[in-house]
């Protein structure tokens, strides 16, 4: 039961928001892709015996609400091809853990940069507004996952 609850909470985190969906105010902007992107990195660290630290870096992408949008569809791409399946978000926000490790404090920044570089080479994301009738607006440009923007 606990594991199931944890999975549900993490699922909510993966999809960006646990709040009930609502329609963004204003006349629907069906011809405009999402814009105003910003991406930041969040670092969490903890201590471990032997002078080591455990750390995790998350990448959070936000964008301006699209008027009239009920939700947002997210697609990923890899160097092997684009995903076809859309992941739905209730709010204009996507957060993913993208790097983690157990290292000495001195090595943390280096390993973090390594993992972020690899992630940006391997994973991109784009988003589109979904309107209450199910129609999708135009998609944004591809954005590299793991890189701070702008």
């Amino acid at each position: 039961m606990v594991a199931r609850l944890a999975a549900l909470l993490l699922a909510a985190a993966l999809t960006g928001c646990a709040a009930a969906p609502s329609t963004a105010p204003g006349a629907p902007q069906r011809d405009r892709p999402p814009g105003g992107f910003a991406a930041v990195l969040h670092d969490e660290t903890g201590s471990r015996s032997g002078g080591l630290v455990t750390w995790t870096t998350s990448w959070e992408l936000t964008w301006e609400e699209v008027a009239g949008a009920a939700s947002y569809a997210v697609w990923y791409a890899t160097p092997e091809g684009d995903g076809t399946r859309a992941h739905e978000l209730d709010a204009p926000r996507l957060r993913l853990s993208v790097a983690t490790g157990t290292t000495t404090p001195a090595d943390r920044a280096v390993r973090r940069d390594q993992e972020l570089t690899v992630t940006a080479a391997q994973l991109s994301v784009r988003v589109a507004a979904r309107f209450p009738d199910g129609e999708l607006g135009p998609a944004s440009p591809w954005l590299p996952v793991g890189q701070a923007l702008p």
Binding site: P79, G83, L116, A121
Partner: protein, 450 residues
């Protein structure tokens, strides 16, 4: 260091699988397909488009009756599945990219045989690969081994997809790789080791003990992150699409999936089918043109080399026939044009691949060794920092055997050593990356350990 040894080297060797008749795969399901001659390139031959498995005619299949392939598997050109000494089972929606090698069994010494038993691997098991496993370019799997079959779900994977990613150039040698795991580029997991669900192996690391596989503090593994899960799910989807679209292409005309031929097209980013072009005009490494200017489009189903889609060669066909090894694979099957300057030599099993927005620009007089991987990667929006949309290799570069150049630029006259990784980096003109060095984000991260 433990090594796989050749059969027949001495009494100390324990042959763990009979070299003769091999039974049907232990993990074969009732709906598994054996890629016999009648079941290639589409397996089974009469499968509906949405469940068909595709085995590229340039893939090598040994002892096909001891091989079982699930639905929607994609086996790329220059891949090898060898079940002569042990059966091989591959689950649904798994991909076997170019030039992956899956070998059912090899001879093991007594130490290795004991380690295998400790991990629950029996010699007759061969290789059992579960559903939704990514075997990226240059992966080697040596049996007995089990991948993506056992293990648990992960809270990072709420959809329960439980994918496994074996990264470019990695090697699984007599190991158990559980579901929800990831092996980074050029990493190895050795005999008797079990990689548990929720774990990822770091680039170039050689995991030879269970302790190394279980404890991130030892510097070889880390926990899985959500970015891994998103990557794995997407890469599986893309290759499932390949199984369907190459099947469609083959059914229209089998000659289209042999030698120099068209890409499948039919995708949002790549709606049209295009052919390779020879003696095309080299372009500057700016935004790539969507045509092979001045080139002559060619379709040559009898060619040994597999070249798919809009690869634009500066060489003539005759020069290419001299420079390319038969088992080279150049796949432009997801959109973007590749500009390929004159080739001094391109060795066995070398692969060039990339997708829309990550095309390759390769200069003149480049020497590509054997088993080289040159791959586009990463998309960045114009105007954003470091969009790095292209992988560029300038003139007169030498790339050593078994090396990876991935989303990177390499300046004129540079040398990349054997089995090196150049990822997200810029090698200056005349620069040297040593054998087995790992260069990521313009910083050295030690060497490939094996």
């Amino acid at each position: 260091m433990r090594r796989v040894r050749d059969v027949g080297r001495g009494a100390a060797l324990v042959l763990v699988a009979a070299a003769a008749a091999v039974a049907a795969p232990a993990g074969a399901t009732a709906d598994g397909c054996s890629p016999t001659r009648a079941n290639r390139p589409v397996c089974p031959a009469g499968a509906p488009l949405d469940t068909a498995t595709f085995v590229d005619p340039a893939a090598a299949v040994r002892a096909p009756r001891a091989i079982s392939l699930g639905a929607r598997v994609y086996v790329a050109p220059s891949a090898t599945i060898d079940a002569r000494r042990g059966p091989v089972t591959i689950g649904a929606e798994t991909n076997v990219q170019d030039p992956v090698a899956v070998v059912g069994a090899v001879a093991r010494d007594a130490e290795e045989a004991a380690a295998l038993a400790h991990a629950g691997l029996a010699p007759g098991d061969g290789v059992v690969i579960g559903e939704r496993v990514i075997m990226a370019h240059g992966v080697t799997v040596v049996g007995p081994a089990q991948i993506g079959v056992e293990g648990s779900g992960s809270p990072l994977d709420p959809e329960g997809l439980q994918n496994v990613a074996l990264g470019q150039g990695s090697r699984i040698d007599g190991a158990v790789i559980e579901r929800n795991t990831s092996i980074s580029q050029f990493a190895r997991v050795g005999p008797g080791v079990r990689l548990r669900s929720g774990t990822a192996v770091l680039q170039g690391k050689d995991v030879t003990t269970q302790q190394e596989a279980d404890d991130p503090a030892l510097g070889k593994v880390r926990a899985l992150v959500q970015g891994d899960v998103a990557f794995n799910a997407t890469a599986v989807e893309a290759n499932v699409r390949h199984a369907r679209e190459y099947t469609r292409l083959a059914r229209e005309d089998p000659a289209q999936v042999r030698g120099f031929g068209p890409d499948p097209g039919g995708q949002d980013q790549d709606p049209d089918r295009e052919l390779p072009a020879v003696r095309a005009t080299p372009a500057d490494p700016g935004p790539l043109p969507d045509t092979c200017a001045g080139g002559r489009r060619v379709q040559r189903p009898r060619a040994g080399t597999r070249v798919i889609g809009a690869a634009c060669f500066a060489d003539s066909q005759r020069a290419l026939d001299r420079a390319l090894d038969d088992r080279v694979s150049i796949r432009v099957d997801e959109g973007e044009t590749f500009q390929i300057g004159t080739i001094t030599r391109m060795g066995r099993r070398t692969v060039l691949h990339g997708i829309e927005g990550t095309g390759l620009f390769l200069g003149d007089r480049i020497t590509y060794g054997d088993d080289v991987i040159v791959h586009g990667g990463g998309r960045g929006a114009p105007g954003l920092p470091d969009p790095r949309p292209l992988t560029v290799i300038e003139d007169d570069v030498v790339i050593g055997d078994g090396s990876l150049v991935f989303r990177a630029t390499v300046g004129a006259g540079a040398t990349i050593g054997d089995r090196a990784i150049v990822l997200g980096s810029d090698v200056p003109p005349g620069g040297v990356v040593g054998d087995r060095q790992i260069l990521i984000g313009n910083r050295l991260f030690g060497e490939v350990e094996w």
